[in-house]
């Protein structure tokens, strides 16, 4: 139990941290105060550039040469860390405080066995003998639920999956039982199902050990699931702090409100909800507005906001830094659209033409055989990335593709684009078979299928101006003259809500969200029939995500193009897609119109994906075992049902031996691939209990 009366484990007071850039000092964290009790997980929410990682490093006193604590106190169990010498800090690291970092892969020494990396903590900080330290390392790995810990200690980091690597780092951080644990986006690069198990593990370990934890993340849903209290950081300022349930039920600061409303929740659909994006961009170093830092983006700002807002402390123990929070409270709320808003959905589905159909598409990558395999004449092996995929996209519709990394969703997109060769099957566009090779596709085909990828940084040529980037597809695909193409650039920019003067800029002068807009403008320049979007928002901040999703939707409403939308995020896919296909290990396991997908029964894998979303649970009438292990390698694919090695609802031998049949029922658009019949599965699963945030 957390006792508010006891002295806090961590007490940060008026902390200001500055960074040096090109010879000048900029304040990255400004007058932040917060307390964390022993056993409490405190969430610190912020987008990129908000100063959250700087704050974490300041608490650890690990800022590096360009960082400096300007003022304030950081008290850990009563000792002010700001006053300590580096040598004294080194004695606290590992003993009193530990960090669980964001990128497990790069946070482990690539040239050292995992067991040695844990054991050395015991050897050098607790003076343990080598043998005993090894023994303790195995024990620690067992504690973080690593199967066969003895074998894992002998592995090198690159031989482990991301989830395993993160467990190793957790074991390392907890090995000396610190009183403060700092978690910096510890699950951000992991798959949802892995994230879910890691979060569970962290919660129980922190509770057991009564550690104080500072949980830093951009993911509001994770905060909702993990934390008791949370603070929202914007441009280095703590703009709001509250208990979790209050923060989500009644956000007071316009920025917090913006964050919550810009995030699609499970079950939100574009036909009924409009995401409210936060306009503008977060301030960068040296460009902090005077008065309230949020003023340029705030929908309710007025003259009073030109002065610095004070931090108001409200009776129920929450804090907010805004002049007009009482006003904002009334103006909050998401915009629900009136029914039947869009006319494009009035067309009956069966009247729509299929634009793209995939039949039996497989993509195998042959593996190079090692010397030994050649000598022993072992058969050639292949990565079976996509297997026997049947899919259709109707014209003007959006097909969403969900699955974890390694599920083959990106490979499928690439095969459609003609960037990888398919091994079998046919891909038809408007009834005409597409050749495999990009070079053998006609200009018109290329024009019809365009794409937007996850990382806008890599997609735009850094040496061309935005205008030149946009002219290219019109000149090459539509055969326009340069003059004509230049003439259309302002229209394109307007369509993606960028000012016309951006035509002169280089990609490096744009923010991540703006680059993605340019990428979208380029993809739509030649009026494609199909836009393939592979994780187009997953590299972007939440507030920017919303505007991109809105944009994709608007463009579709205007041009009537189809969308193949690929994401690992169920809520995002659910928001945008008309039909959702769930794929696992390269095979389609469930497909349904969006509304039907969220109704039971669900394919056991879909159920696992839905349950893994922080704050969401599928009601289970017959309790299922937890999802075990990680996605197997597509080389040694299990026979029978592809999901049987991890399935929580495994029926028995039949799942391992026999490929399951499709199950469907009258009145539902849903089909799923499983041995468990419709009614029986329905009897085991209930509804999705979405977004429960009112945890005591």
């Amino acid at each position: 139990m957390i006792n508010e009366k006891t002295a806090p484990a961590l007490n940060i007071k008026d902390l200001c941290v500055a960074y040096q850039q090109e010879g000048e000092w900029w304040e990255a964290v400004h007058e932040v105060s917060l307390q964390i009790q022993p056993g409490e997980i405190y969430g610190l929410v912020g987008e990129s550039g908000s100063g959250k990682t700087t704050l974490a490093l300041a608490v650890l006193r690990y800022l590096g040469k360009n960082g400096m604590i300007r003022q304030g106190k950081i008290e850990l169990s009563g000792v002010d860390l700001v006053q300590l010498q580096p040598a004294e800090m080194r004695k606290l690291w590992g003993h009193q405080m530990a960090l669980i970092p964001q990128n497990p892969q790069s946070s482990l020494n690539p040239a050292m066995r995992v067991g040695d990396q844990i054991a050395e903590v015991y050897r050098h900080t607790q003076d343990m003998e080598t043998g005993e330290a090894r023994h303790k390392a195995v024990e620690m790995l067992r504690e973080v639920n690593i199967p066969d810990p003895g074998r894992v200690t002998l592995s090198y980091p690159h031989q482990l999956s991301g989830g395993m690597q993160q467990r190793v780092l957790i074991a390392m951080a907890l090995s000396s039982n610190p009183s403060l644990l700092i978690l910096d986006e510890p699950t951000t690069n992991l798959d949802v199902t892995t994230q879910a198990t890691i979060l569970d593990l962290l919660r129980s370990l922190i509770e057991q050990r009564q550690t104080a934890a500072l949980y830093i993340t951009h993911n509001l849903a994770v905060v909702a699931q993990m934390c008791r209290r949370a603070g929202v950081l914007y441009a280095g300022r703590l703009v709001e702090e509250a208990f979790i349930n209050e923060l989500f039920a009644r956000p007071l600061h316009p920025y917090t409100q913006g964050l919550l409303e810009s995030m699609p929740r499970l079950g939100d659909h574009k036909d009924s909800v409009r995401l409210r994006a936060i306009e503008g961009r977060a301030p960068v170093f040296g460009d902090i507005p005077s008065g309230c830092v949020f003023r340029p983006r705030c929908p309710i700002a007025n003259e009073i906001c030109e002065t610095n807002p004070p931090l108001s402390v409200l009776p129920e123990g929450r804090k907010v830094r805004c002049h007009r929070w009482e006003v904002s409270l009334n103006e909050a709320g998401r915009s629900h659209l009136p029914d039947g808003r869009s006319d494009r959905n009035t067309t009956e589905k069966h009247q729509l033409q299929p634009l793209l159909s995939l039949e039996g598409v497989s993509v195998h990558y042959p593996l190079k055989r090692s010397l030994r395999e050649v000598v022993r004449r072992e058969p050639k092996r292949a990565v079976r990335a996509v297997e026997g995929m049947d899919l259709k996209i109707l014209s003007g519709q959006t097909l969403g593709l969900v699955g974890e990394s390694g599920s083959g969703k990106s490979t499928l997109a690439r095969a459609t684009l003609g960037v990888v060769d398919k091994t079998a099957g046919t891909i038809e566009l408007l009834g005409i078979q597409l050749p495999d090779k990009l070079s053998r596709r006609t200009l018109d085909t290329l024009r019809k299928v365009q794409s937007v990828f996850q990382n806008p940084e890599e997609a735009l040529n850094p040496y061309l101006t935005v205008g030149e980037i946009l002219q290219r597809p019109m000149m090459t695909l539509l055969g326009w003259s340069r003059q004509e193409a230049i003439g259309r650039v302002p229209d394109l920019l307007r369509a993606v809500r960028l000012p016309a003067m951006y035509a002169e800029r280089l990609p490096t002068q744009l923010s991540g969200g703006e680059k993605q807009r340019v990428a979208i403008a380029r993809a739509s320049a030649a009026k494609p029939n199909l836009l393939i979007c592979d994780e187009p928002v997953s590299a972007l901040d939440v507030s920017v995500q919303a505007s991109i999703l809105n944009l994709l939707e608007d463009l579709q409403a205007e041009h009537g193009n189809s969308l193949l939308f690929i994401s690992h995020d169920m809520a995002v896919v659910g928001f945008l897609a008309d039909t959702i296909a769930v794929i696992y290990l390269g095979e389609l396991v469930e497909i349904a119109e969006t509304g039907d997908l969220f109704k039971s029964p669900y394919h056991p894998y879909t159920e696992a994906l839905l349950s893994a979303i922080p704050g969401t649970k599928v009601e289970s009438r017959r309790v299922a075992a937890p999802l075990v292990g990680e996605i197997p390698s597509p080389i040694e694919k299990p026979g029978g049902c592809p999901f049987h090695s991890r399935c929580p609802r495994l029926v028995g031998e039949i799942c391992k031996r026999q490929p399951p049949p499709w199950q469907s029922q009258q009145g539902s658009s849903k089909r799923y691939l499983c041995h468990i019949p419709w009614e029986e599965l329905q009897a085991q699963q209930g509804d999705i209990q979405g977004f429960e945030i009112s945890r005591g």
Partner: protein, 322 residues
């Protein structure tokens, strides 16, 4: 690892074979008839023909090449045109000398350069770093003959003038001298070569250390509470020194055959000077022999570098050929 090593070895053989073809054909394209070179300008047609017959120059080129290669592998490297002695023992003697100098140079320069580089990297921007950078840069700019002559002046002539024990200015050594006996003659040339390599290896090491210090795993190691020296020795160095190893191997190749200037300044009988001598006299068989020995030396050094690199880098050891 075994598969990896075998593959590397295969590559080595291929490289050597390919360069042997090049070396062979270059000598074919050189202007002038070999026999005319051997026999001199005044030789009559008859003598020339006999000579050509003798050397097998009538046969088609591929056959000549194969014959040459077979002889070469068998240790029959032919006779030098200019000295009229067997090439094999001559080249081997010089190779041994070059190896001695190379090994001594590496023994001096590697610990010194790596040490300085690590010191500079760990103290980036501080006085030590600046001193090391300026010092090594100013040395690397000087040509070897300048540093060589300076060293001779200092450690040979000056010391002798003051009646102190001094090092020989002329490093020519008896062919049958052992390592210990030849050591005094080796020291000055080795130091000169060290000065050339020092800045190069030190700077590379420094940037390797800086690069690794930025990595997240170093932060992890620090925040585990490990003592700083453990972080440096166990975490930073094994990764930071990887690129240095490759460069050391390549330097070894250079030390064996590229020290022409240094060998000349000190009058040291190494491979480099032999090559110059051969070129001077248009002594084709000798040129070929030295060139091929050099190539094999380079390739072996690279092989060793690859293997050591793999040994230190589990990402290679455990993903390739396993």
């Amino acid at each position: 690892m075994l598969g990896y090593s075998l593959r590397r070895l295969g590559f080595l053989l291929l490289t050597v074979l390919l360069t042997s073809v090049i070396i062979f054909s270059v000598t074919q394209w050189l202007p002038g008839d070999v026999c005319r070179i051997i026999l001199g300008r005044e030789a009559g047609e008859k003598a020339l023909d006999a000579c050509r017959q003798d050397l097998g120059l009538e046969a088609p080129l591929p056959v000549q090449y194969l014959r040459w290669l077979a002889d070469f592998s068998g240790g029959d490297w032919g006779q030098s045109f200019s000295t009229r002695t067997d090439i094999f023992p001559l080249v081997m003697q010089r190779l041994l000398n070059s190896l001695r100098l190379a090994v001594l140079t590496l023994l001096i320069s590697v610990p010194l350069a790596v040490g300085l580089g690590v010191l500079a990297g760990l103290n980036e921007g501080k006085l030590v770093d600046n001193l090391i950078s300026i010092g090594s840069l100013s040395v690397v700019g000087l040509p070897e003959f300048v540093t060589g002559i300076l060293l001779i002046q200092l450690f040979s002539f000056e010391l002798r003038r003051w009646g102190l024990p001094s090092l020989p200015a002329n490093s020519s050594i008896r062919p049958e001298a052992g390592f210990v006996e030849s050591l005094p003659s080796l020291i000055l040339p080795a130091i000169t070569a060290t000065l050339v390599l020092l800045a190069y290896i030190a700077r590379l090491t420094r940037s390797g250390v800086l690069e690794e210090m930025k990595q997240s795993y170093v932060r992890t190691a620090d925040l585990k509470g490990l003592p700083r020296h453990i972080v440096v020795v166990r975490h930073i160095l094994p990764n930071a020194l990887l690129p240095t190893i490759t460069v050391i191997a390549i330097s070894f190749g250079w030390l064996i055959s590229g020290l022409v200037v240094i060998e000349n300044v000190f009058n040291y009988p190494g491979l480099g000077r032999l090559l110059v001598f051969a070129i001077d006299r248009r002594d084709l068989p000798l040129m070929q022999a030295v060139a091929l020995v050099t190539v094999v030396g380079f390739a072996l050094a690279n092989l060793v570098a690859d293997l050591v690199y793999a040994l230190l880098n589990p990402r290679i050891r455990y993903t390739e050929g396993n």
